[in-house]
Structures are given as C-alpha cells and as structure tokens.
Amino acid sequence: MKLRKLLSTLLVVVLIATILIGCTTPSGTGTTNEPTTKPSSSSGQPDTPSTSSDKTITIEMFNVAANYQGLQSGWFAKVFKDGVNIELNVIAPQVAGDAIYQTRASAGNLGDLVLLERSDFADCVKTGLVREITNEIKNCPNLMEYKAQIDVFNESLEGNEAGKTYGIPVEMTNTSPTSYSQDVIYSSPMLRWDLYSELGYPEMENLDDLLDVLAAMKEAHPTNEAGDPAYPFSLWPDWDGGDGMMGIANVVQLTTWYGEKIKQSVIVKPDDTFTDILDKNASYYKITNFLNKAYLKGLVDPDSGTQNWDSAVAKMSNGQVYLMWYSWQVGFWNSQERLQNGNAFIFVPVKDQIYYADSDSYYGSGRILGVGSSVDDEKYQRIMEFLDWYASPESLMYQHCGIEGFNYEIGDDGRYYVKNSNALMDNLPVPEEWGGGGYNDGFNKFNQWIVASISTNPKTGEPYNTQYWSTYKESIMTDMKRDWAEKFGAPEPVDYMKKNNVLSVSPNVSITLPSDPPDISVVRNQCEDLLEDFTWRMIFAKNQAEFDSMWDQMTSQLNGLGFQDLIKHDKEVFSIELAAKKEAKAAAN
C-alpha cells in the first residue's frame, strides 16, 4: 500500500515536472513557444558561448532555397568546417512545408541565419525578426565588393530612411544590370540533335511545326533504347505555383518563348504592357492549348498529371523524353560523351518565337540573406565571418566548381581543366581525404550563392561556372556543336538569338514589392488552385471544343472567386517594377 502511494505521488510529480519543463523559456530566445519541429541536432550546440573560432559552432539556418533539411554532411560539411569551423543545420520550408515559416515566425525566432523571399524579408525586418548588420558588414571585405548592390536593396526597404543594412541579396554578379552573359537562356525549346538530324533538320515556323517534328521523332522512336515507352513531353505537377507565377510551372515556363513573362496573375508583354492570364490572345492560353494539341497527338506522357518530380527526372535520364525546356534540365542527359556522340539536347529555334530572358542578376535573384535577431553577440560575429567567407573567391570555387583535383585541376599552363564532369549526375564517390561519400550526397545544402556562378573569378579572369571555362568550351567543341554552329550561323544559342534579334532581355532591378494583404492572399491561393486544376484538365481535354468550354468555365469560376481584384492588385504592384525596368533599359541605351 505504501509503495503504491509512493508510486502515485511520484507519478504526479514527474508529470507536473515534465509539463513545467516543457513550458520553460529556452535560454536566449525570449519566447515561450519554441516549435517542437526544431531539429534535435541543435541541442549539440555548446552551452556556453564559444570564445574564438577554434570552437565549432552550429548555425541554424532558415532557408527557402534548400530542398534538404537537417545537418550538412559529406564533403561540403568539411568545406564549412575547414573554412570557418561551423556546422550548418538547415531548416527547409520546401521540405517541412510552408507552415514552418508561420510557426517559427510566431515563436519569434526563424533561425540564426535566414534566407527569405524579398517581400517576406521586408516583413521580417518590420517585425524585428532580422538583425541589423550595418556596422559589422563594413568589416567584411568580400561582401563589401558588392556594397553597391547591397546598399540599393537595403535602401529600398520601407521605413529605412536611415540607410541601415539588414540583408544581403543572393546570386549577385559583378557584371552589370543589363548585360546577358549566359550562352543558353533559362527556357527555350531543346531537341535531341541525333533525332533532329535524322529527320533532315526540318525548319520550324511555329509551334505546330514543332509538334510535327516531335510526332515524327516519336513515330521513329516510340521507346528508348531499353524499350521503355518514350514521350516528347513528360510534365510534372510538383512545382506548380512556385517562383511568383500563377498557373502550372511547365506552361508558365513555355510562355517565355513568346517574349511574355507571367508575374502572378498578370502577363508582361514584350512591349512592356500588361495583360492578364485569362487573355485568350496571350501566351498562357496559347501554351496550354499547345500542350493539349500535343496530348491529342499522343505526345504527352499520360502520367504527367500524377507523377512527381523524381519520376520525371528518371524519365529524363533514361532518354524517355524528346523535348526539354529548362537550361539546367539537359544536365540530366547531356554528358561530354553524349555531346561527342551527337545525341545530346540542344536549342533548336522556332521561327516565330521571341525569347524572354532575365539579364544577369546583378542586384541578386530576389532572395535575401540576413541574420536572425535572437543570436547572441558571440555567434553573431561568427555568422558574419561565415557570410564574408561564403562570398570569398576561395569559397566560391568550392560552391561553383567543386574540389580541386577531383572536379578540376590546374594544368601546367596555369589554366583550369574540368574533371569528372559527371560527378553530380552520377553521384561519384569523393576522395577519402574529403570524407568520402557521394559527391551529390555531400553537395552544398545551402543551395544558394551570394555570388552567382556567372561572375568573374578575379584569379582566372573567367566565370566560376565550369561550363564557361575556355578549356571546357574547347573540349566540347564536338562535331555536333560544329554541325549546330554551321547550321545556325552562331557559336552558341544566345549568339544566334542576339544575331537574329529574338532575345528580349529584361534588366535586373532591385525593387522590394509589398507582400500580399490577407484578403488578396486568400483570393490568390484559391484562384491558383483552381487555375492549376483546370489547366491540367485542359491539357488532357478530349478535343478543342472541350478545351474551350473548360477555359470559359474556368474564367467564370475564377471571376467568382475575385480574380479581377487580384489582377487589379497585381497590375498596381508590378507597375512599380516595370517602371524601374524601363528606366534601367533607358539608362543602358
């Protein structure tokens, strides 16, 4: 009996104690609701602040760019440790869900280091979730190289008349806001050169011709070499509604082939005027209809609407896809070997197209990096040290080029030569002294760079991006590339576009647009879902009549949800940006 009494008392005490402990304020954060989703690995942080950089610290980072959550491991963990003696613990809303932003923001601590979309960043400055870094950034020589761009951003923050510094834009370049340095633009039609040459290099006047070419390819090669069914188009729904554009991602990308750029619910036309997504003469209708025509010809992978990104990638790598449209997408197929064999993907022009491209991201790509407001001074110093190092040429070589001796080597002539170009694609094992493991597995989980890869490396005078090294270009100057160059009279796709005047470059500007008020955000979200669902169903419509009736149905339902208010709001917001772009264009001319 006594024992039982004792036990029950103990139980009560333990329970109450657990509850009380669960409610205590975590030291240093000043909040009561530390989210339970906080990764346990952060408990590995030292209890007492470190006194110098010889103590490894863990930086917890809220990172909207990351598609991996958890502690950085593999060879890049070693790069971080050797460079500034830190461990990076990534919190990724792409993995954990967007709700984690709300949870952590209401807890008052997003992370030690935050990477956010521009408007969200501005909101976080207003609510005090981001720390001011005005004084310390002056002691960061590498970051000061980009002082002009950083200042332009911070001055654009609402209510920052004092000119304080809060954030650092990412993907900045050291070129200029109107220049275009890439060889291949972000989105353009790319075909398998071997299949295209087999058909006798047919010229394509418009999208219908493109469909005919793709249909002929499928006719000749209904399967890949292994016998799996191949389709010219394999779409995926995972990315819908991302990147500040309404509508399904695959359609939205293709609209840039006609010089139009979708900004949420509105479309900016090549002549710098606005129309909206529902305009039947604009590109959203045109491209959706194009994909429907492709479907009716049997050219669209029937799994398109239900497969996820991973299955889509597997099909790209297996050669089950005959059209690619993202510049990086070819990375899942093209290799030095295939470039040599002539069966790689490359841009093939369609005559009636004008290609939209964003200029070099001189002022950054739109995401902003900042320091969380709840870090202590000790950690703050280390974070600034980390950021400065992250923008240094030494660190940029790791970020953009990889490991010396594994991914590249310096020849006797002092030039840099690419090695193991398939390291990422095939997840090659890295040397033991770098901790072993796969190259892709241990890749940089930060997944964003302060300095873009197209920037010039002061050491070599060439861009960091290995594909722009003169040695690399020489090595891929294969028969296929020569064949292409001869056919189209230009060494690279962008040269062709510039020469034929079909490239419309939109200058990079630094404008912080206001984030959506709650009413608009609800309307946007509901409309976006509806628009995406209807678009998918329209792609799979049984005929043109069904397609058009769906489009009308969609239009009336969208309007019922308040789409016109949304268009009005978006037009107002993006006029600010458009005005700045016009100004930048005028200044450049």
């Binding site: 139980l11 497969q307 609800v522 339902q557 019922g560």
Partner: protein
C-alpha cells in the same frame, strides 16, 4: 488543518490528485488550442504577430459565402465530405462481418495469418499507400502492363487521374487499410460471448449460420452501435491524409473533403484566418451532431453514450 482529520474529505482530495495530471493534459492539449480561434477574427498574416494585425470581426465568416462561386465550392466540399463519410457509415458493418467470418475459420494458424495480414496495412502511412497505388496503377504500372499484355487495352488506362467512382475507390483503399484493425474490437467482443450459449444452440441443432444470426450478431450489436454513434459524431472529419495524397487536378473536385479544404487553404497560401473560421464552424456542427446522435441513441436504446 481541520479537513485533514476528516478522512472522507482527505480521500476525495487524494483521488482528485490522481486525476489531476489527466485534467492538466486535457486542458493543455484540448482546451488551450481553442485560444487559436482568435485568429479567425483578425487579418492575420505571418510573420506579423496578432498585436500588429487588424481586428476584423466576422469578415472571414462572411467571406466564405459572399459570392455564388464560393458557395458552390463550399457545397461541393460538403457534398464530398458527406458522400465519403456516408459511404463508410453505410458499410460500417463490414469489419463486424469480417470479424464474424474470421472467427469461423477453424485452422488457428490460418486464422492468425489472415488476421495479421489484414491488420498490417493499418500501420502503413498514407504516403506509402499512395506509392503502392502509383506503382500498381500508373500508366506503366502492374495493372496496365497486364491489361496491355493481354491485349485488353491498347492505351494505358489512367486510374489515378480519373474522378470516376472516386468515392467508392477511396472507400476501398480505406477499407483495405483499416478493416483488419477495426475488426479487432469485434473479435474481442466475440471471444466475450458466453460459450455455453453456443453449445446450447448446437445441442438444439442450430446450424452455423443460425448461431451467427441468433447469437453472435445480437451479442455484437451493442458494440456496433456505440462505434456507429461515435462515427456519426465524427461525420465531418474524414481525416485529410488519404485525400491529400490521392488528390490531383483531375479528381480534386470530388475528393476535396472539409479537412483537406481547410488544409489546402491555410497551408497552400496563408489563408490562416479563413481556414480557422471554417474549422470553427466545423467544430460547432460536430458538437451539434454529437448531441443529436446521443439523443437518438437515448431514444432508440434507452441510453446515451455520453
């Protein structure tokens, strides 16, 4: 310290202490979250805390129904919720029947085997269930390979992409996952039936079917009714995981149930205030349903369950 001397009082205090931890837990996990309802009355937008948001009264409740399209959408969602819940209520006898027939299997090893196999899916998460569904039913999946191999179809059939019979399909998946687990309760109830009754019936010459019909089934009915009532009270919550993983552009119109709708609204794009408003309404309706089924139970069985 007079009350310490009163033994009866002291005992009641002590007994109160026994239950105190549970009261605290209930308060923290069931009542404290109700505080979150306050978000429905503000223009809430993260990262701004409530103190920086505008109080808007019942604006969000009104906005649910302020255009015909929104009303249609809400009605659609309710239709789906009622159809899917209705279907599972309609077939709620299924686990019971399964348990009865399982109990009739004489080979003990075989019976255990069947029971284990049918219970296991309960522990598989819906995400994995969907990957199984995808690998079986996609255009290159097992079913389509067989169909096309036998020449029964020349183009792959898109099972996952169609909204045909979707409510029934959802019920089948749910039953596949849950039937074995739900049957456990009935199996326990069956083993509680007095063996003497069965023996007496057998001596009187009752057949197996007669025993099931006149003894097993009536003994299970009280359990069945309690579970049914609880289900009815939960009519509006069919969970969201299943529909979240199976939803796509082609079937969403028929698959979006209330819970999923709330989730899509809030997590999809920050419509937190609106989705809180919707869930408040849902809770209120659920309370009404619970009270209604309880009075129904009182009326029919002469006793309530709460």
């Amino acid at each position: 310290m007079n009350f310490l001397k009163n033994k009866k009082k002291l005992r009641s205090y002590r007994e109160f202490l026994y239950i105190l931890p549970f009261l605290i837990i209930v308060a923290i996990f069931s009542y404290y979250p109700l505080y979150g309802w306050v978000y429905a009355f503000f223009d809430y937008k993260p990262p701004f805390p409530l103190t920086m948001d505008k109080f808007v009264g019942i604006k969000w409740f009104k906005s649910m129904v302020d255009t015909p399209t929104k009303v249609t959408q809400l009605l659609n969602v309710l239709r789906n919720t009622f159809a899917i819940s209705g279907l599972s209520t309609l077939f709620s006898w299924f686990p019971m029947a399964f348990a009865i027939f399982l109990n009739e299997i004489t080979s003990k090893r075989y019976r255990k085997f069947v029971q284990t196999v049918t219970t296991l899916p309960n522990f598989i998460s819906w995400v994995l269930v969907y990957s199984i569904a995808y690998s079986v039913l996609s255009s290159t999946g097992a079913v389509n390979s067989v169909l096309m191999g036998l020449g029964l179809a020349d183009t792959p059939r898109m099972f996952l992409q169609s909204s045909e019979h979707i409510w029934f399909k959802m019920w089948v998946w749910l039953t596949w996952k849950n039937a074995g687990w739900a049957a456990i309760m009935y199996i326990a109830a069956i083993s509680g039936i007095d063996e003497e009754m069965n023996e007496a019936a057998r001596i009187d010459g009752a057949s197996k079917i007669q025993i099931i019909w006149h003894i097993t089934l009536p003994s299970l009915l009280p359990t069945y009714f309690v579970l049914l009532m609880l289900n009815l009270a939960n009519f509006l919550s069919n969970g969201m995981e299943q529909f979240y993983v199976f939803q796509n552009a082609f079937n969403k119109e028929y698959i979006q149930v209330l819970d999923l709708y709330v989730y899509n609204l809030a997590m999809g794009g920050g419509g937190y205030s609106l989705s809180v408003a919707i869930s408040i309404l849902k809770s209120l309706v659920s309370v009404v349903l619970l009270v209604a089924t309880n009075s129904l139970s009182k009326l029919v069985r002469g006793e309530g369950f709460i």
